[in-house]
């Protein structure tokens, strides 16, 4: 527990010292969300700005107005609004993938790395991170596929009982297990990514193997840390939604914007906290043996002279 706490605080410290990454990623996230909503915005303003009927969504919220708008032919096919949102969502994912090596390098460093170092790390590790991403995606896909098949079977069996809530609780329990499995995969690949960047490992499979071993050895500590951060994120989301619903007047767009974006910023920060914790773990636990070898290199130095 104390170890978990120290990893949590170590990670928090690293993330706090490098707040600029969270801010930059948040700005990218909101920029992409704005861009992704452009199709929706164009159609919505065209239809709503000159209509008194639109007031139904401003004061209070009448879903009938929204449903009618989205079903109007002039609003365009659903694709025209969902595709930009999806495209910019994918773009954010790719940007995260591209710039994450620089973030991990920054997290591992005890000084503020230069812009040059940051982008050099990004460029150097781009292809490695793509390979890591593909491996992680396959693993996530297979895990979710297999577990949800099992969950479906369980839920079906639960549905045959006379306890009505059982299918629901089965699904909740099943999804918690799936999320735990995904979190474990995330721990594994965060360690692998850290190893790729910090040991300049071009053989990605070695970093993956390293990440797996490290995670297996310290799974309780690492998983505990990740789960604790996730729970903080969930709690913050819930509080945010309750505040949004209870405090923000329905006609206050600024209020809704501030609350929702604060939630998004904090959600992003939670994920960076996890990564920072992984880097802190890596530096502290895994880098020590490397440091022990330092005397060897010291010995070599005089020979060079």
């Amino acid at each position: 527990m104390n170890e978990n706490k120290s990893l949590l605080s170590a990670g928090a410290g690293v993330a706090r010292r490098n707040l600029r990454y969270i801010i930059w990623f948040y700005l990218l996230s909101i920029l992409f969300a704005w861009s992704g909503a452009s199709g929706f915005a164009t159609h919505a303003h065209d239809m709503m700005d000159h209509s008194l009927y639109s007031d139904g969504v401003l004061h209070g919220f009448h879903p009938a107005v929204l449903i009618e708008m989205m079903n109007r032919p002039e609003f365009g096919p659903t694709k025209s609004t969902t595709m930009p949102a999806m495209s910019f969502g994918i773009l954010f994912l790719l940007v995260s993938l591209t710039f994450m090596p620089g973030v991990l390098l920054g997290y591992s460093s005890d000084h503020r790395i230069s812009r040059d170092e940051f982008f050099r790390a990004c460029g150097r590790n781009l292809w490695r991170f793509v390979r890591l991403f593909v491996m992680a995606a396959i693993l996530v896909g297979v895990t979710v596929g297999l577990l949800s098949m099992g969950l479906d079977a369980l839920a079906k069996a639960a549905d045959n009982t006379n306890y009505e809530r059982l299918p629901f609780f089965t699904n909740v329990a099943g999804w918690i297990i799936i999320l735990l499995a995904l979190t474990k995969i995330r721990v594994w690949f965060d360690l692998a990514a850290t190893d790729v960047v910090l040991s300049d490992q071009s053989a990605v499979r070695k970093s993956v193997a390293f990440g797996f071993r490290a995670m297996r050895k310290n799974w309780l500590r690492l998983l505990g840390t990740y789960v604790a951060i996730t729970l903080v994120a969930v709690a913050m989301l819930m509080v945010g939604i309750v505040l949004w619903n209870m405090i923000v007047p329905s006609s206050s767009i600024v209020g809704a914007f501030l609350v929702s974006q604060l939630m998004m910023l904090l959600l992003l920060a939670m994920r960076f906290w996890q990564r920072a914790a992984a880097v802190a773990f890596y530096v502290k636990e895994m880098a020590e043996p490397v440091l022990e070898m330092t005397p060897v290199s010291v010995v070599v130095a005089p020979v060079a002279l």
């Binding site: 909101i30 969300a33 909503a37 919505a44 209509s51 009927y53 009618e68 954010f92 006609s251």
Partner: protein, 660 residues
């Protein structure tokens, strides 16, 4: 004993026997009992008397039964052919019901794969006509609607000797039912059953012919009024509910029990059995007498008991005051097995709701909306027994209209669907209109149920369009007049089988208005109602002067507003023009032409134009273009755009969380 004494004794015995002789007619008859209604005399013209003795096998989900049907020939002519519904035969892969269901989908099912548990059947083991012998071999399946020879939902028997006008005929039928795992309306789920359309049921002689349609994917039923005496034998652990009143409940030595039910002036009989039901009882004091309400809840739904009894009381009160009395002594409200496709169904004095363990109070669609709707069918189907196959709008649609009225009265017109549920509000009429919009011009309301374009059109027109058409009609004749018309219609046609014109003429009669122009378009036609503010302009009268300086309140403007009737539906409409000095002008347009232009010269510019400012027209196809704000207000769209951004941003972050 002397001879005289003996004669006296015999005479006395004869006198004593006279009343009994008077009570026992020579042939069969339909009982004139009234024990199940709060009326001293029968309320319907009773055509049938069903006596059924059914034994339910809870493990196999089967029923074996003996049915005696007494039919009173009131057709005015000799009858030698009688068709019977065998509804359960619909649940077979080659039936018309399933073919249509496969084509259209029904109750959220697309029948990707045939599940043997979905099989249902109703098999007549023997059919005897009293006085004419066993006619089992004469039975012949017929397909009056689509000629699908594989459909066995209607069977016909030809009698060697016709039944004379006003004569009686008695059928003795042995049948075996296999209930399906619920696909729609009837069947079993886990260890429960809701048994509807489960016995051979004679068709209706209507407009000079037998009306006995096949069972279709989204049509319902039609039957004659009469008396039902039904015995149901079930395992002793079952809790049973049924149409009518419970007469007796006797335990048998073999671990079963037999419950007897009696129904007066009803045209169908349904029952349910489950070991799990919990009973909540209540009484409604109606204008014809007390009604015993029996709510049969799932054990996990006991927390919804108050919501059930409250909505039943609220609904019955309004129906009693607005439309007429509920004459039956009982109402059974069944909360069926979770997930079962028997939810939301109506049978005489017996309805099924649709509750779940998670039903937040703000969502009034369940259980309140469902219970209200199904109770409404006690009037529009149960008593005003229209032909549901052919005139579905007269039961489902009129009921949808009265549902909106009742729910709007209990809540408000803007919260009767979602009552501040997580900040959302929606009214019944919003739901009805949205239901109709995608299919507004596909079918007229009066189309026969199985002939609609598809199931969406059937639902959207039958339920949604009828409701909004009647809500709009209300604004034409006045709400009070409409209520009086509905009351008159109910009182005049209860316990009969009215047709569309009966309903429409009643409204014309009570309102004193010729409404053909409206009915021809809205009820019989497919014309779409669609108005639009085409254009608005305000130009300074002295626009040509070089030194013109516009000043609010001083500069005179020539303002124009163009109103267009885009749809073919012609209906007079009000238009409100608001000027930027606060002045409002109301215009009334007959909408005979395709467009109209209103022109004003005022020291003010037009600020907004609104068609139908009182929102009387409930079925305009596009509400957005019914008004025009000269100065754009981006706030509503901004709010939605922000929601959209938030959702997409959140989704992106969640995906990225697990992948990078």
């Amino acid at each position: 004993m002397s001879f005289i004494c003996k004669r006296l004794v015999w005479f006395c015995v004869f006198l004593g026997a006279l009343p009994a002789m008077a009570q026992t007619p020579a042939g069969p008859s339909i009982p004139t009992t009234t024990s199940a209604i709060n009326s001293p005399t029968p309320m319907s013209q009773r055509v049938v008397h069903y006596e059924i003795d059914a034994k339910y096998n809870a493990k196999a989900h089967t029923v074996d039964a003996d049915e005696t049907l007494t039919y009173h020939n009131l057709t005015g002519q000799p009858q030698d052919t009688f068709p019977f519904h065998l509804y359960l035969n619909a649940f077979q892969p080659t039936s018309t019901w399933l073919r249509e269901g496969k084509r259209e989908g029904t109750r959220n099912q697309d029948f990707d794969k045939w599940d043997p548990k979905s099989y249902g059947s109703s098999e007549i083991k023997s059919l005897e006509v009293i006085g004419q012998g066993d006619l089992t071999s004469q039975l012949q399946f017929i397909q009056p609607d689509d000629n699908n020879k594989d459909d066995h939902t209607v069977v016909q028997v030809h009698l060697p000797k016709p039944i004379p006008p006003d004569g009686y005929v008695q059928f003795k039928i042995k049948f075996h039912d296999q209930f399906p795992k619920t696909l729609e309306r009837t069947g079993w789920d886990r260890d429960s059953i809701v048994a509807g359309q489960w016995f051979p049921k004679v068709g209706v002689w209507w407009h000079g012919a037998w009306n006995c349609h096949q069972f279709h994917a989204y049509t319902e039923f039609f039957a004659d009024f009469g008396v039902y005496d039904v015995k149901i034998t079930v395992p002793q652990n079952e809790v049973v509910g049924a149409s009518g009143i419970e007469v007796s409940d006797v335990n048998n030595p073999d671990g079963t029990k037999t419950l007897s039910y009696h129904g007066d002036d009803i045209h169908d009989f349904a029952w349910t059995a489950s070991p799990h039901y919990k009973i909540v009882e209540d009484t409604f004091n109606g204008s014809m007498g007390p009604v015993k309400i029996r709510v049969m809840l799932q054990p996990g739904h006991m927390f919804l008991a108050d919501r059930h009894t409250r909505i039943v009381q609220q609904t019955m009160t309004r129906f009693d005051h607005w439309y007429g009395p509920y004459p039956y002594k009982t109402l059974t409200v069944v909360d069926p097995e979770p997930g079962a496709q028997t939810f939301g169904m109506e049978y005489p004095t017996f309805i099924t709701g649709g509750a779940g363990w998670f039903d937040p109070e703000g969502s009034v669609s369940e259980p309140e909306g469902v219970v209200e709707h199904e109770f409404g069918h006690q009037y529009w189907y149960g008593m005003v027994a229209t032909n549901e196959f052919e005139d579905a709008w007269m039961d489902e649609g009129i009921n949808q209209y009265t549902e909106a009225k009742v729910m709007d009265d209990i809540y408000t017109p803007s919260t009767s669907l979602f009552n501040h549920l997580w900040g959302m509000d929606a009214g019944e009429r919003d739901g009805d209109r949205l239901f109709m919009l995608p299919v507004a011009d596909l079918d007229p309301m009066t189309r026969k149920g199985w002939q609609f374009f598809d199931s969406d059109s059937y639902g959207g027109i039958t339920y949604g369009k009828t409701a909004v058409v009647l809500l709009t009609l209300e604004s034409i004749v006045g709400a009070d007049t409409m209520q009086r018309a509905m009351h008159t219609y109910f009182m005049r046609y209860r316990f009969t089988h009215p047709v569309p014109e009966d309903f429409l003429k009643t409204i014309e009669e009570v309102s004193g208005k010729d409404l053909r122009w409206y009915f021809n378009q809205a009820v019989y036609g497919t014309a779409v109602l669609d108005f639009r503010v085409h254009k608005v302009s305000s130009v300074a009268v002295d626009w040509y002067k070089d030194d013109l300086k516009e000043k609010k309140g001083e500069t005179a403007y020539l303002s124009n507003a163009w109103i267009q009737r885009k749809g073919d539906f012609v209906i007079p409409v009000d238009v409100e023009i608001k000027f930027d000095n606060g002045e409002k002008v109301r215009e009334h347009w007959d909408a005979q032409d395709r467009w109209v232009r209103y022109q004003y010269q005022k020291k003010a510019k037009i600020e907004s134009v609104e068609i139908d400012p009182d929102h009387k027209l409930q079925f305009d196809r596009n509400n957005f273009d019914n008004s025009y704000l000269v100065k754009a207000d981006a706030a509503p769209a901004n709010k939605l755009v922000h929601y959209w951004e938030f959702i997409s941003q959140f989704m992106t972050q969640v995906v990225t969380w697990f992948l990078v």
